[in-house]
Symmetry: C2
Subunit: 225 residues, 2 copies
Amino acid sequence: MKRLKVSNNVIRRLPRYLRKLDELSENGVNRISSFELGQQLGLTPSQIRQDFSCFGEFGQQGYGYNVPVLRSQIAGILGMDRGYSAILVGVGNIGHALMDNFCFSDWGFHLAAAFDIKPSLIGTTFGGVPILSMEDLVSYIQSHPVDVAVLTVPKDVAVTVTKTLTENGVEAIWNFTNVELTEPNSNTPIVENIHFSDSLLSLSYFISERRDENAIKAARSEKQG
Amino acid sequence: MKRLKVSNNVIRRLPRYLRKLDELSENGVNRISSFELGQQLGLTPSQIRQDFSCFGEFGQQGYGYNVPVLRSQIAGILGMDRGYSAILVGVGNIGHALMDNFCFSDWGFHLAAAFDIKPSLIGTTFGGVPILSMEDLVSYIQSHPVDVAVLTVPKDVAVTVTKTLTENGVEAIWNFTNVELTEPNSNTPIVENIHFSDSLLSLSYFISERRDENAIKAARSEKQG
């Protein structure tokens, strides 16, 4: 497939399309127009058509999109059919939560192993995934395919562990540590951050914005009243 | 403060600025140029100046930004000084992880109570936060200020619980359920989603993109070689 440089915003919308298409499939919907899809996602039909046009032509004029076909095309664009392997480093609360609730295989990933320093965890398995010692991390990476490391270690070791991972060839980090890992001017891995605080602060912004607007409206109508 | 409609991308960058400024403060940095700040964040100086210009003038030509002053201005824009109250609904793995590791007060929020249906949890406290029965949710909301509900319930009750929350006046939902809560054409709450899968799939896209590029490069050099 020919890949053009696609904007970050489009890439970020692809997983949302995928979730919506899964929901439609579950509800027995087999075909959807860009108008209807847009309505359900809060996007304009033309934005949807434009997004998909980055990757070729998906719909058919007057027919709309075939839900399972579109779903599999988007899954392919996202790389869900490439059989990526992941390891999880740091089995604390978040690590546990991910191993327990997050179904990696639903998204095309195989969670192969987890690593921790706690003796009580090492040698056990959790949800079928073996928990190994951090001491075995390097040898494991060197002898197994690891496409992504899920980083759920404590903050203070985030940078050191990342260094170990990337020096041993791990290309991509799914970062839950809230530590900024991107160093400028170095051969950096691909880092995808889950920053809980960024998300909460955006929410905080949107609440404040709405309340300020309401306060202004209230002040105006008082003036007029 | 006068609020202009600020683009979503700018809003999403504000928490990143805040984190970087906190890091600078911790390292004893008191002043920074937009050039240096840009370098550290992978942004251009002009983008940074433009972002801040949405909210007034922050820096001083030739001097740069005063780190603590800029930090407090951004915190104000984000509403961190407004004393928002939060409740957490659903004390499973993710709920526990948030109560245990995520410091709401660092971001200006007070986590006042949590709710669950498990008898073994009800009546206990976790990190100083009382866990109450779901049966008391409505009466609690009606008698306490609740600005945000952190939604960490199982998927299948996400929509019902959201309905209860919003019908009783909760304006904003921090949604960890991976269920799309925004209904078009209704008086919706502000929903901020943490979609783990969206983030992992974006990462999957970026890995695939890089590998495809490398494969094309390799094929080209083979052709030429």
